[in-house]
């Protein structure tokens, strides 16, 4: 299980990176943390002509509080994000999700931005940034543009990133008063990709869900926002009847794919169980 040969480049600046992306086009692959790309290379599922290692681009690893919110550099290691003291305060959803992202020795290397740009349909972080309505900052030669997280994830391993573009940072807006976050997932083993995961970010008022953002992972081609379900729960107290109604609404929100780990029916069922669990926790404390 050895990779096919490739050329390796390690640009020192974004400009150099743009040059290389232009030079190789679709034959060039960006290497960030490598925790998804390297297995694909080893298995020869990916056989790019060139690997463009952006790990040493300066200034992309910071985690900082800015006026527009919490800004997480694309090259911030997942482990650094997990351990960042500002995370629990400024992005508790991400703080809760982080321990589920792989394992200790993959989080030390895997990057925050890499996980997003990889857009694995079962990954935790894409669902989180969608639920938090984060902004993805994307650099290209012409300058930087911002893409709302909800528009960033387009399909399996597919994002809004155009050829020649690099995700450089993610801005998470400040948490408004009354908003609460719960992340949870159902995985057979700790650290596995989830059979289903739910990133919930909701405004809870007087024991009821006032505004809901419910984003599922592992049940679609990309993070799935459960808008029908959100509509059912919004503004209501979560008694068993509402939870049951929400579960039925979820049927219309999700069309999960089947794979060797779970059938469509199982994923639907688990999503519903997880929804009940997460909503109960959300209003419970």
């Amino acid at each position: 299980m050895k990779p096919a040969p490739f050329v390796y480049h390690r640009p020192a600046t974004l400009e150099e990176a743009f040059d290389l992306l232009e030079r190789y086009g679709p034959e060039g692959r960006i290497l960030a943390g490598g925790q998804s790309l390297l297995p694909a290379l080893n298995m020869r599922l990916a056989t790019p002509a060139a690997v463009i290692d952006i790990n040493r681009l300066p200034g992309l690893g910071a985690i900082r509080l800015a006026p527009e919110g919490l800004v997480i550099g694309a090259l911030a290691r997942q482990d650094a994000v997990e351990r960042s003291p500002v995370m629990a305060q400024s992005a508790p959803l991400i703080a809760q999700a982080m321990p589920h992202v792989g394992h200790l020795a993959t989080r030390t290397r895997g990057t925050f931005g890499g996980s997003l740009a990889q857009a694995d349909p079962a990954a935790e972080l894409p669902a989180c940034v969608v639920a938090l309505q984060a902004t993805m900052r994307v650099a290209r030669r012409a300058g930087t543009q911002e893409i709302p997280a909800a528009q960033f994830f387009r399909g399996i391993y597919t994002t809004a990133l155009a050829p020649g573009e690099i995700l450089i940072e993610v801005a998470v807006p400040p948490i408004a008063p009354g908003w609460r976050s719960v992340f949870d997932e159902l995985a057979r083993r700790h650290g596995d990709y989830a059979l289903v995961g739910l990133a919930a970010h909701c405004r809870v008022s007087d024991g009821a869900v006032a505004d809901a953002r419910l984003v599922f992972t592992g049940v679609g081609l990309a993070p799935v926002r459960a808008s029908r379900t959100e509509a059912v729960v919004s503004g209501r107290r979560l008694d068993p009847g509402v939870l049951a109604e929400a579960g039925r609404a979820l049927e219309g929100d999700l069309d999960p794919p089947a794979d060797v780990h779970a059938s469509t029916a199982l994923r639907r069922h688990l999503a519903r169980a997880l929804l009940t669990r997460v909503l109960t926790r959300l209003v419970g404390n």
Binding site: L186, L195, H261, H269, L270
Partner: protein
């Protein structure tokens, strides 16, 4: 056993005995420092690497192979396909004569004309590096003509199903009908009859160190040296000699550190035979390291049984009789040389063996499939047999509203019934079901757990307790393979030599794969000799050096290798005392060897240091009487002759919580009580049991080789094939009953299978206990959320 032997046997447990002591394995020091030497760590001059083009189809005709581009790649040494390889290495047929009617087709190192499972090696590429070999494999163009794949055991024998090997006439590799007593009468006289169908998924060993072999052929001396991650080096030596037509004494197989085996590394694999043949063809060392893709597609798989079981019972829970119908789908070939019939055979023979009912009928069919070959993996047949038997016992208890503990007690073979021969022909010298059960109930505080379970149920928390009684086949004699014609040694030798400084070097035919074989052997030798443990160094796994033996599998290390070491140690001690008597001019019977020193047998007064004895014997024998020759190296052999196997027994208890919303199972705790006879090293036995329990839990809940209808493996990576990891595994409490065998002086039996034998049944029963309030029950492993939710009618 003679009175004399008994007293000598007793002596090893007294005084300076290391038997029963949890000494630390000295050999772990190198592994903890990164200084182990596994086969892939070895680098030889001019070494090459082989990679294989493997069939991407489960069943396909090979129309043509174009290797031109591969051969042209710089760094490629050779590209070899099936017919060319067959000229150097002839094929084999995996059958044994004592399995009457068994049949299989001839198998070659590389497929010829047709591939019969996804992953079968077709073309070998030898290159300067593994990466270049893989580059070349990617450049080989094979034209395939796909053929229908046989993938469902249930229809394998239907007339409409294609026959995988037309020369065999059908897809039936082996069948067996067993009957004992009058099973029809038992069913007529029963108050109730219960039947169930159990499915045990296909799984595999996933040794962390993948299969690895490095073969080096010296053309000038016609000598083949093979470094092999393997359990049975003498078996490999024999097979390489015969199939590569090299005199046996010119074939040397060396097993260095082995990174897990569990029965995976005891079979003949076509890719490994090809690597050795390539070394002969090329006159250069050839290394093959299976990558993880190759492991999943080519390591033997195991289980994959569908068992229909029916029990006939009295209202009080007495089991009167049982009928079992076992269907298992192996690969396209029975695996050489142990065959793929053993698991089915053991499944149907082991099933009734914990209990005293005599009316039993079993039917077994072993059918061919276009999937990875199946063969013996740890606890062959046991986990299937006892999941079925114990699943049925709990079914009886549930239906008749009886205590599962009492149903077991009522039906056990009791302590007054030994020696006992099972209705399936197995001989039990003495088992300890009742004692083991009592011990288990005590250490687990079973009644308290039951009470807690009942309390929590009313709060919507569903916990379950599952018992699984098992027996374990260990220490096999020649009836296992030898009588069937397989050249697999059932005896083992042990050589001990005294070095001039008084230290001992011990060589044994049993092998070390992490169990602690070398520590266990050293403990026996040090005890038998009367020397400090640190003075014994054990060497295993080198056919040029170590005494001929079977290696380590079927829990034979302690029962056979341990006994040979005991006999050798006693013999060398006798010789040492003769030398001491010659030096000290007294009688050997007046002397003893204790703590590495010659002492007066009566007073214990030190007479001579062992180093001084060595110095005189080796360098100054001129000072000894002229007619005296010191003999300071001895070899003794041992093969069990009094019973076919040394059966052991035990019981496990699993405590689980089932989330009835998600179907997820949380393992709360696990207990195992087993009886492997006299224990040499309690900690090593405990750890054998714990590791095996977790392998059994893997089978029960996680591990599954899933195929689609075309015979494509869908679980070919470690992301998709779920092995048990630390976060989900429970604390495991291990305890023992000790019933030494009296047929061997040491009293040792085996312990390697026990955990796997009982854990799947225990977990199955625990899950079913948790599901009892819903009147739901599962009989399919692995017990995934899907299986549980379907049983609960939620999917």
């Amino acid at each position: 056993m003679s009175e004399e032997a008994r007293s000598a046997g007793a002596r090893i447990t007294e005084g300076e005995s290391y038997i029963g002591k949890s000494v630390v394995r000295p050999q772990t020091a190198r592994l903890l420092a990164g200084r182990g030497v596994f086969t892939d760590d070895i680098k030889l001059p001019r070494m090459t690497h082989v990679a294989f083009l493997r069939s991407s189809h489960a069943h396909a005709r090979i129309v043509s192979i174009d290797a031109g581009a591969a051969k042209a790649l710089p760094g490629v040494v050779a590209v070899i396909a099936g017919e060319e390889m067959a000229r150097v290495c002839g094929g084999w047929v995996g059958t044994l004569a004592h399995f009457k009617g068994m049949k299989s087709a001839k198998q070659y190192p590389l497929a010829i004309g047709r591939a019969t499972w996804q992953g079968e090696p077709v073309v070998a590429v030898v290159a300067e590096s593994r990466a270049v070999a893989e580059d070349a494999v990617a450049r080989i163009a094979v034209e395939w003509d796909p053929l229908p794949a046989v993938t469902d055991p249930e229809t394998a024998l239907d007339p409409s199903t294609p026959v995988i090997h037309p020369e065999l006439g059908d897809n039936l590799a082996f069948e067996l009908e067993l009957t004992s007593g009058d099973v029809d009468r038992a069913f007529r006289e029963a108050d109730a009859v219960y039947s169930d169908t159990f499915w045990m998924g296909r799984h595999t060993g996933v040794t962390l160190e993948a299969r690895t072999i490095l073969a080096d052929f010296d053309l000038s001396e016609q000598r083949l040296t093979v470094y092999h991650s393997f359990q049975a080096p003498n078996m490999m030596q024999d097979i390489l000699a015969r199939h590569l037509r090299i005199p046996e004494h010119n074939v040397r197989v060396i097993t260095k550190d082995v990174g897990g085996s569990f029965g995976i590394k005891v079979h003949i694999y076509p890719d490994e035979m090809a690597a050795c043949a390539l070394a002969v063809m090329l006159g250069r060392p050839v290394k093959f390291v299976a990558d993880r893709f190759e492991s999943f597609l080519s390591d033997i798989h195991a289980r994959d049984h569908r068992v229909k079981a029916e029990v006939a019972v009295k209202r009080d829970g007495t089991i009167l009789g049982m009928k079992v119908d076992d269907l298992t789908g192996i690969g396209p070939y029975s695996v050489y040389p142990r065959t793929s019939a053993v698991e089915g055979n053991q499944t149907v023979r082991l099933t009734p063996c914990g209990y005293k009912f005599r009316d039993y009928a079993a039917s077994l069919k072993v059918v061919l499939q276009n999937k990875t070959p199946m063969c013996q993996y740890r606890a062959v047949g046991h986990p299937i047999a006892f999941a079925v038997m114990e699943g049925m016992v709990d079914r009886v208890a549930r239906e008749l509203q009886l205590d599962p503990v009492e149903v077991r007690r009522k039906n056990y073979i009791t302590r007054d019934m030994y020696p006992y021969t099972s209705p399936t022909g197995y001989f039990f010298e003495r088992l300890s079901h009742e004692e083991a059960l009592d011990r288990l109930l005590e250490i687990s505080d079973y009644p308290a757990l039951c009470a807690e379970r009942d309390t929590l149920r009313s709060r919507g928390i569903y916990r379950g307790l599952g018992l699984c009684t098992f027996i374990e086949l260990t220490t096999p004699g020649p009836a296992f393979y030898g009588v069937g014609g397989a050249r697999i040694s059932s005896q083992d030798g042990c050589t001990i030599k005294l070095e001039p400084t008084g230290k001992l070097i011990c060589m044994t035919g049993v092998t070390e794969q992490g169990q602690g074989t070398d520590t266990m052997i050293a403990q026996v030798v040090a005890t038998a000799m009367g020397v400090p443990l640190d003075d014994v160094r054990v060497l295993t796994g080198d056919t040029m050096v170590t005494p001929y033996g079977g290696g380590t599998w079927a829990s034979r290390g302690a029962g056979i290798g341990g006994e040979a070491a005991l006999l050798a140690g006693k013999a060398l001690k006798e010789n040492v005392l003769k030398v001491a008597a010659a030096i000290l001019a007294c009688e050997p019977m007046d002397l003893d060897l204790r703590r590495g020193r010659i002492v007066d047998a009566g007073t214990g007064e030190v007479r001579l240091d062992l180093g001084e004895l060595g110095r005189i014997a080796y360098f100054r024998p001129d000072t000894l009487p002229k007619d005296f020759q010191p003999e300071l190296a001895v070899t003794r052999h041992y093969v069990p002759r009094h019973q076919g196997f040394a059966f052991t027994n035990g019981i496990q208890l699993s405590h689980v919580e089932v989330d009835v919303d998600t179907g997820f199972v949380r393992l709360l705790k696990h207990w195992a009580v087993e009886d492997c006879g006299r224990i040499i090293n309690p900690r090593l036995v405990d750890e054998q049991v714990r590791g095996a329990v977790v392998q059994g839990i893997g089978a029960a809940l996680f591990e599954h080789c899933v195929y689609d209808e075309q015979g494509q493996l869908l679980t070919g990576t470690m992301g998709d094939y779920l092995v048990p990891m630390a976060a989900e595994m429970p604390e495991i409490v291990v305890d023992h009953v000790q019933t030494p065998t009296l047929f061997a002086e040491g009293g040792f039996k085996g312990a390697g299978e026990a955990g796997v034998a009982g854990a799947p049944g225990a977990v199955l029963n625990a899950v079913n206990d948790a599901l009892a309030p819903f009147n739901a029950r599962v009989t399919r492993q692995p017990i995934t959320p899907d299986v549980i939710l379907k049983a609960l009618d939620k999917l």
